[in-house]
Symmetry: C2
Subunit: 168 residues, 2 copies
């Protein structure tokens, strides 16, 4: 489930942790071990992930981290989205997350074969959205485009003779 690292991050003034602390403090919330551990794990790599992925990653951290329970993961993911650090999307009726803070606006190609999400950027797309929103007097906050199909790797795999045999 490796992702394509085709996009370059944007420069940001604060680290995700600093930003999260600011968000928490501004709301009278507390900076706990669990929240720190989750944030650290979430920003340790750039793949898209869901709550289960994150829970597994946390479980395999052999560090002295305190254990993080499933409800806390869900609660914290919500806070990370609220604080603007993560973006959430709904894929096959499950929530999938990705970095938002320090990462440019982009959209996705979704391979129905290997379930991989591939990122791409398009400035034309953004202007289309603006135009459409203006026409409809709609106050747009954001957009999400997903192109579904089969990625180049899976296309190749399909054409290999071994696969024809397996299909019998």
């Amino acid at each position: 489930m490796k992702d394509h690292f085709s996009l370059t991050g944007v420069t940001v003034a604060m680290t995700p942790m600093a930003r999260f602390e600011e968000y928490l403090q501004s709301r009278g919330k507390r900076v706990t071990q669990q929240r720190r551990t989750i944030l650290d794990q979430v920003f340790s790599h750039h793949e898209h992930f869901d709550a289960d992925d994150l829970l597994e990653e946390l479980a395999s951290r052999k560090l002295g981290d305190r254990k993080v329970s499933r409800p806390t993961v869900y609660r914290t993911l919500g806070e990370l989205v609220d604080s603007g650090l993560l973006r959430k999307m709904s894929l096959n009726n499950r929530s999938v997350y990705e970095h938002d803070y320090g990462y440019p606006q982009h959209d996705h190609l979704y391979c129905e074969e290997c379930k991989q999400l591939i990122e791409f950027q398009s400035k034309e797309l953004s202007s289309i959205c603006e135009t459409v929103a203006k026409q409809q007097r709609f106050r747009a906050k954001g957009h999400r485009l997903i192109i579904t199909g089969v990625c180049s790797n899976c296309n190749k795999a399909r054409q290999r003779p071994t696969h024809r045999l397996e299909m019998i």
Copy 2:
């Protein structure tokens, strides 16, 4: 939850029912009362809907229709998607359906306030998708763009003084 009827249907050779029967027969499946009732209800109006909406609509049909259970609704919705009559999308981790057969490709604006889906068409968008797919050697089967924000009606509502008071 009324929808905008801004798009005009495309001309099709068969009625949805005829097409569904063809699909069923080609797979050795049967044309049952329940499948007929569901198809009839689904194509009786053009709003987006989910399984619960459909179940409610079916329950309120005072006709001599046989009762349709929840599992049958789910099973049949799947078949309607397979047969190309409906399109399914994932919204807030639930499945939402809309007409596909006899209806042109389009995308949506989603109002986070009133939860309404507004349709729009954009040919530029389709060409962007083609270009992106070609660049990534991705075999695209389709796409889905959703612009989130607040629709014109809800924007107006927000500005009405009554609402300011209600917010206290």
